[in-house]
Symmetry: C2
Subunit: 346 residues, 2 copies
């Protein structure tokens, strides 16, 4: 038996951090089935070569995999006909409806409670990301319209994911993020549907112990900075979740630390929250910790919590010791140094 | 000659901070024409009494005013048929297309450069705020759609406002906030139109000295927290601007400090960025400084920079001395105490 993992480094520092995560998975040993890696293409670079940012073979190959790791994509600086973000397309094609982004600060001492410990559960398939846009020319100039789609079905399944995650956490709290004071139908539907999850017949009282809170998105971001401790699980429509998870990342010191998975009930793809970082590409100083943590989170979703814990503990130790850190965290070490430090602690 | 100012305290602490701002305007003296105040209704409370959150008379009366001050609105906690936000409606009815929100920290010593000094210029009439929503029932449950509208016309005028403001600031930089990597047509149009403002024939080279930057909205929020000093004027579509201005407010210590104006080329309405704060309503401890600063900003837009400076300096002194502050800033003083302190410094 083996664990088949698709590897899609894509662009920029994706090509530096995904190989690091791969090395960590290889070093895990007998806690997981022997990993078998499938290198796959996507991104702006492959688009420039082939005219497709997400080759059909990549999607097909992923369907044969148990899980995957995705790096990051660069965006063209101008609008380019035919190009569209492969990560958005992948989430949709594989119906990876949940984007789960835990944001946790590392406590000063092992065993201490981290100061920030929340998880953003972002709906991953709809909202403005359906990318239904039109543009028309009028007497008064051009007018562009985009559709924001919120369905009961997608809101319910992301809601369930949020409650399920909350159940496994000490605080057991879900905060629904919305803007229903302006978007009464779309965000109203999201809010109402997530609120109703604990009362679904099929759920059978399972979430009765979970506390429900809610926040309007603008004030949610404000309070995230002022009192991050009020949050446990935040569940949000796609775009708000995108913004919130970057905001939360700022709180723990670097986007280079925050992992995510894109998950359906059948498949899971780890992905660092950071982007392709063209400014540091190729310098060997990208922080591999978000990618490494993403591989741990992927293992967790694949049903291997013990090796995931081992990886997370190793990463925490490296951060806590503070001796081998990349420049984004104020250190002077290289991607390779940080990887070596993690491997040593495993 | 007098200055006719509509006063719309609306809900919650709006009714405590707008009277404070009124007192400051009355105390300004001969630097401005004698203010004449017109008390006007709007909000959730008046909706509950009359079935209208924005009475027709309020809109009509404002058309006879030189400027206005708006407090804050409470939102119903459930969806209420017929209710919709009066502030959103006012912005649209009076075509107050620019929402200008300066976020400035107070320097430790007078004359020092503030650590944070930026202004969010938010488009105020379109984006998802056009509130064109539908909901339908399907086999798979309900589906709601909202339209996000971005026009060249609105993007151009908000762009001009941003460049004009940048021109009056030492750094002369405009950062365009967008998400055109996903919303290539709507945010693409916004970005492209704002970028093109300096090249408009009518502008005649006026903005040639202004530097243009851009940021994707999620990373803009991240960097706002990590390196706020990279921003000078941020120009954004409506919803991003809403979120960004709350995020920026968190940086300077309290939403209770951040003023705004809603402006057209003919009319200007000051509005503190904070909400109605039902949790502290009626306790007499609401921070009046955002409303007071909003009255100064209103005067600035009405062409009275000197009294605006006087008010801002008085507010800065009170904050700097740190002796008379409301609880949101860690103090123990009341709204009235803070107002008195400002009046004394005027
Ligand atoms: C690259 C971009 C399309 C993407 C998104 O908006 O989802 C990124 O910001 C993310 O958060 O994964
Ligand atoms: C109350 C609400 C409709 C409003 C908005 O979203 O514009 C508020 O958040 C603001 O920023 O003025």
């Amino acid at each position: 038996q083996s664990l088949k993992i698709g590897l899609i480094p894509a662009d920029g520092i994706g090509k530096e951090v995904i190989p690091a995560a791969k090395k960590v998975l290889e070093a895990i040993g007998s806690d997981i089935p022997k990993p078998e890696f499938v290198p796959l293409l996507a991104g702006w670079e492959v688009f420039q070569r082939t005219g497709s940012a997400l080759p059909e073979e990549t999607v097909e190959a992923l369907k044969e995999c148990d899980g995957a790791l995705f790096g990051a994509v660069s965006s063209p600086t101008r609008r380019v006909t035919g190009y569209s973000s492969p990560i958005v397309a992948l989430r949709k094609e594989l119906d990876l409806y949940a984007n789960v982004r835990p944001v946790v600060s590392v406590a000063a001492n092992p065993g201490d409670k981290p100061a920030i410990d929340l998880v953003v559960v972002r709906e991953n398939t709809e909202c403005l990301y359906v990318k239904q846009e039109q543009i028309v020319s009028t007497e008064n100039g051009r007018e562009a319209r985009a559709t924001r789609l919120i369905t009961e079905r997608a809101s319910r399944r992301i809601g369930k994911m949020a409650f399920e995650l909350a159940l496994g956490r000490p605080r057991k709290q879900v905060t629904i993020i919305h803007k229903s004071n302006v978007l009464s139908l779309t965000d109203g539907l999201f809010r109402e549907t997530v609120r109703a999850v604990p009362r679904l017949a099929e759920v059978n009282g399972r979430y009765d112990s979970v506390k429900i809170e809610e926040q309007i998105v603008d004030s949610a971001v404000y309070r995230l900075f002022r009192e991050p401790q009020i949050y446990d699980v935040m569940v949000a429509p796609n775009l708000y979740g995108d913004i919130l998870s970057d905001a939360a990342a700022a709180l723990v010191g670097s986007l280079g630390l925050v992992p995510s998975v894109n998950a359906s009930d059948k498949f899971v793809m780890g992905e660092p929250v950071h982007g392709s970082a063209p400014d540091i590409e190729g310098k060997g100083i990208a922080n591999p910790l978000a990618a490494i943590r993403s591989s741990a989170l992927m293992l967790r979703f694949l049903g291997y919590p013990a090796p995931a814990d081992r990886i997370d503990r190793a990463v925490d130790q490296v951060i806590r010791e503070g001796e081998v850190l990349t420049p984004d965290l104020g250190g002077k070490s290289s991607t390779q140094d940080v990887l070596d430090a993690v491997l040593k602690k495993l």
